[in-house]
Amino acid sequence: MFDSRNRALALTIVRRTVSTLITLLGVAIIVFVILRLLPGDAITASLGVNAGLLSPAQHAALVHFYGLGKPPVQQFFSWLGASFSGNLGVSLSAQQPVSTLIDQAAPVTLELSIVSLVLGLLIGVGFGMIGALKPGKVGDEVGQGIAVVGLGVPVFVLGTALVTFLSSHFHYFPSSEPYASLFSDPWLNIQQIFFPSLVLSIGIGAAIMRTTRAAVLEVSSQNFVRTARGKGIKARVVTWRHLFRNALVPIVTMSGIQLGYLLGGTVIVEQIFILPGLGRLLVTAINERDFPVVQSITMLFATAFVLVNLGVDVICALIDPRSRGR
């Protein structure tokens, strides 16, 4: 039986789920339309200027092969319908089911994202707490320095610098070896994932750190914290139960936003670190005008992003009852 608190929470979840579905439909339409509005088509993307060498009969054969003759609305609904049934189509270039390509690439990106987020949270929350509890001290200064680097230096510069440094000084570039999954070769996998994750986590950690620092500083000046300290409650308890917990909502919100940044960052980092993930698959597919792959991965990224936001809203509602029903 629902009490009023649970009812408000359930209402929040239902409302956010509906808006999530509407958002995803909007993304599907936008992606579909934008891809078709771009100049050129799958034939010119595949053949380049050599498309001009095709005879009319050859051109007609390719139009049929790529399904370019069908009306766009028919293409959209047949793609959407098939996607709902789990059929994402066949890659125009690789001639393999898109689902197979995504199955191969998704674990790489998922692992990279999780490790980056964990490292980013460790860096961000850790230095944020140090900065807030000991403002102006060495720890705070180090944290601010990391924040400047993380926010100011683009991921591709950090990544390229790290790869160049390790390979030229240590002859070490584990990502350039064939990709090993966590289950096939855990040790190599850790080496291949750690460095790109580190690069991504600095950017994520910087934003989380600044949010954590500001939120904890704000909470620490409130009366209930002074009261808790005055009552002689242990510092550890005051820090985590009073300060951190009350500063958690903006930290969780910022972490959710950073996950969006993370998805964008994986596209770049996978290029630099040669990881066969979704980001690299997406870039290749865009270059080759491989519509089924581009549409599917974009939808996957969009779905992940809105689901994370949905999760963030639910977590915030759980942490802070005041946010329920908004």
Partner: protein, 508 residues
């Protein structure tokens, strides 16, 4: 002192992770098996059907598996491959090929004239959509002449068919594979290597073909690995996980350590400013000649590719190479440019727009900026429009440009290069932007002669015509690079950029 309880654990975790990584770094990873040579390329293999590939790395990869009837040697002269000899008859309208015996496909079938017929008929079938079918457009019939000879009957004398037959798009295929429809999934050829695996966007692997007609293959396995940027290729070379990096950027190859041998060869391509000569100011010959005289092509080469290349004429490489100094105004001559503008009736110069695409040629914007400043000295204003690759290709195909900075494929046979643009009924007549009966006559004649001396005279006339009329402005040919680690011996990169010399290389 304020403590941060729990942070210590987190800090230890981060430091621990770094220590693990540092340990790994100290361990150094040279894990590539010595039996495997790994090539790295920024592009990935995109298709496996040799008749439809257009991506350069596809050609390189599949050439390890497939053979053609005719091929080029290191001097870009025609040389036998699966055809041991050929001869023209019937006034140049029949070419008879004698085929190599004791050649087997890796599926166990034997190479005969039936394979030639089936392969070339597949190329000519519109459903295959082989863009290179234009190379054998003049072939009306492919007739077996016994088991080991075949005749190509032509609609008109067309010596460039031989050059066309060097293309992987006209490779010899297994009739069994054609019938089974498996060419796009499982390549089967007669070349030094046989297909093992292809991971799209990642790697392409082949093993030595023990029954190769060319003898023992000394490198047992070759992998072509996709590394999307050249800086990462340089890093992989230094880490020892890649043995040969195929690169184009001199600013990266110049910073490789001395232990890595960097081979550089002029690419079988050329950079030119293509002009639409049919309308506007560029329809006036003297305006175009003024542009040719205002150009300092050496300076364009220096500023766009750090001087890593060579100023060229219309035919950059091969037995019919044209001399760049025979062109009108071989070096920059601003007074002459201004005098041509006077003759054109434009003493104050004129304005036009040239398009570039850094997606297609990373150096094109730098070329355009250099050319822009040089033309300005003569009073000619060139606006630059940088387009995304698809927009550029679309406009290029429709001829919707006044000038286009292009990196075009070259061929040792000038007819193969320019017939597609300027010959009667040329497929690329629209983007070529120029047509004339005189040029068509030169091209037609050059293609009908079958002796090298006669061909040389015609191709010289072709080059002279193209430059004297400033049909386009030819700029330079840039180097491409193969960065080879010290443990690989005997590999050399030819201008065609084929990788097949790896079959006879050794790895220490």
């Amino acid at each position: 002192m304020v403590r941060v309880p729990g942070f210590r654990t987190a800090a230890v975790a981060v430091v621990g992770a770094c220590a693990i990584a540092a340990f790994a770094a100290g361990a150094s990873a040279h894990n590539a098996a010595s039996s495997t040579v790994v090539f790295a390329n920024t592009s990935s293999v995109q298709k496996l059907d040799p008749d439809v590939v257009t991506n350069f790395v596809d050609f390189q990869a599949l050439h390890l598996i497939y053979d053609t009837l005719v091929t080029y040697n290191d001097k870009l002269q025609l040389t036998p491959d699966l055809a041991t000899s050929w001869s023209f008859s019937n006034g140049g309208k029949t070419i008879t090929f004698q085929l190599r015996k004791n050649v087997n496909f890796t599926d166990g079938t034997t190479f005969t004239s039936a394979n030639v017929v089936a392969s070339l008929e597949r190329v000519k079938d519109p459903k295959t959509a082989d863009a290179a079918s234009s190379f054998i457009a003049s072939v009306t019939k492919i007739v077996p002449d016994g088991t080991y000879a075949v005749k190509l009957l032509l609609s008109h004398p067309d010596a460039s068919v031989l050059n066309g037959l060097t293309s992987l798009n006209l490779a010899m295929l297994s009739t069994k594979s054609i019938a089974a429809g498996t060419l796009s999934k499982t390549p089967v050829g007669t070349g030094p290597y046989q297909f093992v695996s292809w991971v799209p966007n990642n790697s392409f692997t082949v093993n030595a073909n023990p029954g190769w007609w060319g003898g023992k293959v000394t490198v047992p396995q070759v992998e072509i690995k996709t590394i999307p940027n050249e800086q990462s290729i340089a890093s992989a070379l230094q880490a020892g996980t890649v043995q040969i990096g195929l690169m184009t950027q001199p600013q990266i190859t110049e910073h490789l350590p001395g232990s890595i041998d960097v081979q550089k060869v002029l690419d079988l391509s050329y950079r030119a400013l293509m002009l639409q000569d049919r309308t506007g100011p560029l329809a006036n010959l003297y305006n175009r000649l003024a542009m040719a005289c205002a150009l300092n092509r050496q300076s364009v080469l220096t500023s766009s590719v750090l001087g890593q290349g060579k100023v060229i004429g219309p035919v950059p490489l091969g037995p019919y190479t044209s001399s760049p100094i025979s062109a009108v105004c071989p070096t920059q001559n601003i007074p002459m440019a201004k005098s041509y503008l006077q003759k054109a009736g434009n003493p104050g110069g004129f304005t036009f727009t040239a398009m570039t695409s850094t997606d297609l040629d990373a150096t094109s914007s730098a070329q355009a900026i250099a050319v822009q400043s040089q033309l300005k000295q003569a009073g000619i204003t060139m606006n630059i429009s940088n387009l995304a690759s698809n927009a550029y290709i679309q406009d290029w195909l429709k001829g919707k440009f006044q000038g286009a900075f292009a990196e075009n494929d070259a061929d040792p046979n000038p007819y193969t290069m320019y017939g597609r643009y300027f010959a009667p009924g040329a497929n690329l007549g629209v983007p070529s932007g120029y047509s004339s009966a005189a040029l068509q006559r030169i091209l037609t004649k050059s293609d009908s002669v079958t002796t090298p001396a006669a061909a040389a005279a015609q191709f010289k006339a072709l080059s002279t015509y193209l430059t004297a009329n400033a049909v386009w402005l030819w700029l330079f040919d840039g180097y491409v690079y193969a960065a080879v680690t010290s443990n690989v011996h005997g590999f050399s990169l030819p201008p065609t950029r084929e990788l097949n010399s790896i079959a006879k290389a050794t790895v220490s």
